[in-house]
């Protein structure tokens, strides 16, 4: 069963996926998503941070302040075990969606 919150799930799975390999700060997250999706997915500041704070509340990610060599302070988000656990069901939901859309609307999987 595909849940109705799929739209929010798009953003969640994108963020969790880019954090799977390494911690990133907010701008890097949005940049990485944009690059990996070849510009199809774009997160503005207004959309990204409320979502990151929600995911942090749920214990999926954790933001820690780090200071770079240039002296800039950035909040780096790290994927937590609970967030890593969420990735598998989210990916399964997306796979279900693609299968369903292929059948219904002949939409091809990328």
């Amino acid at each position: 069963m595909i849940r109705t919150e799929l739209k929010r799930g798009t953003a969640e799975i994108a963020i969790l996926s880019v954090l799977e390999n390494q911690p990133l700060h907010g701008y890097e997250i949005s940049r990485r998503i944009e690059q990996d999706s070849a510009g199809a997915l774009r997160f503005t500041l207004a959309a990204l941070y409320p979502l990151l704070y929600r995911m942090e509340n749920r214990g999926w990610v954790r933001g820690d302040w780090v200071t770079s060599d240039s002296g800039r302070r950035r909040r780096c988000y790290k994927l937590l075990p609970r967030g890593r656990k969420m990735l598998a069901p989210l990916r399964a939901e997306w796979a279900d969606l693609f299968r369903a859309m292929r059948r219904v609307a002949r939409v091809n999987h990328a």
Partner: protein
């Protein structure tokens, strides 16, 4: 380069969050805009174009404020439930259930008559069990990462509920029972507060204090 922190501060000045949290949110958003500006400049855009594109990240700062507060308040409510309500209700129902069990088993409170209508009820076994419940409430609250007042409130939850009930009864009595002498009413309520709030409160707080003492000692030994 523009002062992005000043730019964000101007637009999110009324972010109703604790001061430290509010500062961190503003610093983080400013850092995002700064990174974007620097990245656009590195791609060869002119200063004005880079500033414009960075500023276009947000069409409505009011919306950003609302969305951030909604996300943060969700956490506040979740934490309030885990840090106060759940530990508090466990303490309340645990203490109430033990009192019921003791009464079923035939334990009766030791009564000290101070003259009508006030008496002091010393339910000794129950009172002696209260430090355990006070410590349990405090422990559950601390485990949910609460600190300070929330922990004490979770520990004292049963007497806070009783005190609130007494307050309502006192106010209702003052309005409805005007024929009863104020002296009698005051004495009766003073005794009730002593029996229902102060004595149990002392024992619950003792448990809270013992838990904190044990935790401090454990932290020191580690």
């Amino acid at each position: 380069m523009p002062d992005w922190l000043a730019y964000v501060n101007e637009r999110l000045d009324r972010l109703s969050l604790p001061e430290t949290e509010s500062l961190q949110v503003r610093e983080e958003l400013a850092a995002h805009l700064e990174d974007m500006y620097l990245s656009l400049r590195a791609q060869g855009l002119s200063e004005s174009d880079a500033v414009r594109l960075a500023c276009d990240q947000v069409s409505s700062w009011q919306e950003v404020r609302r969305a951030i507060l909604a996300a943060k308040s969700e956490a506040f409510m979740q934490n309030r439930v885990k840090q106060l309500w759940v530990p508090g209700l466990v303490t309340l129902f645990g203490a109430a259930a033990l009192m019921a069990v003791l009464q079923i088993l035939g334990f009766r409170p030791f009564v000290i008559h101070l003259g009508q209508p006030s008496s002091i009820f010393l339910d000794v076994p129950w009172l002696l069990s209260l430090p355990l419940f006070g410590a349990l409430g405090a422990y559950l609250s601390v485990r949910a990462r609460a600190a300070g007042l929330a922990v004490h409130c979770a520990s004292l939850f049963p007497v806070l509920v009783t005190a609130a009930a007494f307050l309502v009864i006192i106010l209702a009595s003052l309005i409805l029972d005007r024929h009863v002498s104020l002296r009698i009413m005051t004495t009766a309520f003073a005794a009730s507060v002593l029996n229902g709030v102060l004595l149990p409160g002392f024992f619950l707080l003792l448990g809270d204090w013992l838990l904190h003492f044990a935790m401090k000692r454990r932290a020191a030994s580690n």
